[in-house]
Subunit: 237 residues, 2 copies
């Protein structure tokens, strides 16, 4: 891993100020890649200016992430001041350290533990929902039948959301301030829209809050402008 | 969620000092539950004294964690000063905050980002290896055939380990100090032992380092003393 802080005046190196601006995020499909969306939102929330690098959806690492629901060291991948960070939660923790003013994690220790707990659940769980309701921003399926195991995942997500909204007062999961948790669950809001999933009123309200964020509007516009298609059959698991 | 710091002198409450000692970790099977092992090792590494609460392997949340490879809000679950933290990575981050002297994450920001990246890969990935080589401390399968997809996962794990060992000099992934990453990959060292997985010399050396930790010896002794059995057929995915 390259050194984080090259000496600003070393021969042949650019000054620190210019190195700082070379923040890059590697993403894949805006329409299909839920992990790309999470990393991208975290970086947007951080306020750090960045350049996007988009890889084709059939690039080996990108395809694995889309089709096998596997994480990839390729997508999303953040490069910041020469440091490469390649897991979505690791990107979130890194951004919280370098941009503390963005308050990507709650300031209160107990709320922070709560936030990390639900981020962790989203990071490693909900396989049935992720497999049977893959993110597909362009699609609308009004009569989609939700498989019972996916429904269990959705029920747990509704519980997570409602506990947060009740405890911290909304409109975001930890109150007025958007945190890593909102980025982690944003692709779920998109799935609930795509598959017209029946939700309780508080969950539907939170889904709409997420879908109405200006950053989501920007991401969705990008997804609508894409033309790559993933074979539906391949997506079925 | 209960308040983190109840006033020490409030009527009906115990003093803060005694509240501090009520640290509990909920685990399930020592033989089978890889997530229990991870959380337990993190807490051991932190130096915080704790009481274990063991749930039966057929408790609903515990069974889901073992058989469906799903995370559970039941196991592992840390309760510390009234705060409940229920995801393994969230437990690690929480312990790093309350026991900074244990240095559960590297002090260097770049190493810390690296550590979180590989912890994140282990947290959400390697589904093929986890499904086909489930943790089973008591078992020894000398002629186990590793499925090709699981081999790809194992190859990636070997790359992760070797990059760390070369860069930071071993014997642990980030040098002399044990970090969250060693706890995250400890169940993999156990799997490699159970299934006699062929490894490169550096990977085999790291596997042996982990298996020789006194905390692992304590955990393994507990696993050997357990008698609960999970139907092998159920474990096959």
């Amino acid at each position: 891993m390259p050194n984080a802080r090259p000496p600003a005046r070393a021969p042949g190196r650019r000054a620190l100020r210019s190195v700082d601006t070379t923040t890059e995020l590697t993403i894949s499909s805006r329409n299909y890649s839920s992990w790309s969306l999470r990393g991208w939102l975290m970086l947007k929330f951080s306020g750090i200016a960045f350049r996007e690098v988009q890889v084709a959806i059939d690039a080996p690492g990108a395809r694995a992430e889309l089709l096998l629901l596997a994480p990839s060291i390729l997508v999303p991948c953040l490069t910041h001041r020469g440091v490469r960070v390649w897991d979505t939660l690791a990107i979130g923790e890194y951004l919280n350290e370098v941009a503390p003013q963005a308050r990507l994690l709650p300031a209160d220790a107990v709320q922070r533990a709560h936030c990390r707990s639900i981020c962790g659940e989203m990071h490693s769980g909900f396989a049935a929902m992720r497999g049977s309701l893959p993110m597909n921003i362009r699609a609308r399926l009004e009569n989609f039948k939700v498989w019972s195991k996916a429904r269990q995942d959705i029920d747990r997500i509704e519980t997570i959301w409602q506990e947060c909204l009740e405890r911290y007062g909304g409109p975001y999961l930890f109150g007025e301030q958007r945190t890593l948790a909102d980025a982690m669950f944003a692709p779920v809001a998109s799935r609930f829209t795509t598959y017209a999933v029946a939700l309780s009123a508080p969950s539907a309200g939170y889904r709409d809050t997420i879908m109405a964020m200006p950053e989501m509007a920007e991401w969705i516009a990008g997804a609508l402008a894409e033309h790559e298609e993933v074979d539906e059959l391949d997506m079925e698991f």
